[in-house]
Symmetry: C2
Subunit: 330 residues, 2 copies
């Protein structure tokens, strides 16, 4: 599809989403660490979306999407092995809607427990993307459930973008303007939303994406000018293994300056720094922004940088195995 | 010494300390978790002192003590294998004073790095308390350094008590009055300070202490009515292994309703809940308040409870070994 055929979000959608979801999601804090400033040579402001409802920014998009359903919808569905499934389940419960989440049998027990705890019905399927899509298609055929996609959706992009409105307001209340906003990019819902918001609020703020070198489709797409839809992801950042969506790419190439990549060692180091210096438990995907600041430090030096910490949902045993295999930093 | 001979702190000292340290330490957030409320049957408000300067409430007392030094002091000293040493080093650097910290050779590297990073000189000694005291005595004889004790000190107790003034103000701003304030007790600086503050602010608020069953000298002291100064501590909560100070005991028996004890398994479970539900990385000693709420739940049910999270400084490898040996909870 060309951009004209896609139902592309615009900046006004983000402002509208902010009004829609106000009072349903948290205004998360913007956190500062003198130690990490000293280490990075930049002034870093961490937007704490791991403290958001359901432990991830995905609550924003899910809330916005459910307020904009086709009339008469009483059942929503998605496929997700991660935070979007939990967010949709949570938002559906609040809205009094039924919710089914297609999850691979291989999904961690903790994620299944989270989705189930919000009252959604889990439909298990095989591990491949094709398995998930087939299971979701069957479910829709049988139930007429309305599908809320995880990122390639106008309502979702607009909802995630509301985080940028808060960042701007919080920075201004603290007496400065951000030079750069950096966020991790997987499917691109968050990054596209931030790009749209910043284009309207202050086009002088540079919006950057960050992704693992082992899942660098967004960088390759942006630099080549066409959407790359296949990759063999090789990264611990499970939230960033998906490829960019069509709408997401269309928005990102208009509003995002660049995408930078980070190493796996850099992700573990950033996660450890966030744990030990800010006492914030974030998941690997959420540490990618700080990893980018540290691995590309010249680009950020002496700048006011807002870094989105996207989520904090992870298995403690998995975290510990990451740390026990790392190179030690002090 | 009798109470009359001790230089005991009074409530007014806490208010005075608050004025002294304002602007030097953080007003830490009061955090809330719907999931932990549901689990505990109480309304819990976590006072986040792990987000305090140097990662622990100890910054409060150190700041207050350094503002009240004998005239002409230009070198301070203490012995500490924990957060007090780092707090004194930090506060001394801010005040332009020299600082020496006696630490056992067995202290974790991370703690030594923290103290050194604030510019204090570390004096290594043997592992026993006698070794530490002898090393500190030698240092004082050689240098005339002024000793700032970790807890049994009027200025320190008053400084730590300032956390209670913030709790009260934050609760009232949020539209409720706490029924209970619970804090871990080791040497008793924090608990005595909170007791003094609450006695002045609202004697109707019940102040409780919490300690590991394997280091229950405070409970035994309070219940027997005389200070117990020997114990063989057996707990992972390294900040709570010391016995109660004289001044601390004198204040606590006047202002604290009771001390409850918790199991080691309870501490690990509380730490895991705080990590996974609130995404806050706290050290074992800091999890003891939540452990008490969960292990003595009848006492807290339907109450507004402020729980002090005292610190977040720990070795990640140590944390991971605690988790890998635990019973799993989901």
């Amino acid at each position: 599809m060309s951009d004209e055929q896609l139902d592309l979000p615009v900046s006004a959608d983000v402002f509208s989403a902010a009004q829609t979801i106000a009072g349903q999601v948290h205004t998360t804090p913007l956190m500062h660490s003198r130690q990490l400033d000293a280490l990075s040579g930049a002034s870093l402001h961490f937007k704490c979306e791991h403290l958001q409802k359901v432990g991830a920014f995905k609550a924003r998009g899910a809330c916005n999407a459910l307020a904009r359903l086709p009339e008469g919808t009483n059942l929503v569905a998605t496929h997700s092995s991660g935070n979007h499934g939990a967010a949709l389940a949570w938002a559906a419960a609040r809205a009094g809607l039924g919710c089914r989440v297609v999850m691979p049998e291989t999904a961690p027990l903790a994620k299944r427990v989270a989705v189930a705890s919000y009252g959604a019905e889990i439909v298990l399927c095989g591990p491949s993307l094709a398995d998930r899509e087939a299971a979701l298609a069957r479910l829709v055929a049988e139930t007429s459930a309305h599908v809320v996609p995880p990122f390639d959706d106008r309502r979702i992009i607009a909802g995630q973008g509301t985080v940028a409105l808060e960042i701007m307001q919080q920075c201004r209340e603290a007496g400065f303007n951000p030079d750069i906003v950096i966020a991790p990019v997987g499917g691109g819902g968050l990054l596209a939303g931030i790009g749209l918001a910043m284009a309207a609020l202050d086009p002088g703020v540079m919006v950057l994406g960050a992704e693992p070198a082992g899942a660098d489709d967004a960088q390759r797409s942006l630099r080549s000018g066409h959407l790359i839809t296949s990759q063999q992801p090789n990264t611990m950042a499970d939230g960033l293994r998906t490829t960019l969506g069509q709408r997401n790419f269309a928005v990102i190439r208009q509003t995002v300056r660049d995408i930078v990549t980070v190493s796996e060692a850099g992700i573990v180091e950033a996660m450890e720094l966030l744990w030990t210096r800010t006492k914030q438990l974030v998941e690997p995907s959420a540490a990618v922004g700080l990893a980018a600041v540290l691995e590309h430090s010249a680009r950020f030096r002496n700048k006011q940088v807002a870094v989105v910490l996207t989520g904090g949902n992870m298995d403690l045993d998995r975290a510990c195995s990451l740390f026990s295999s790392r190179e030690k930093i002090v």
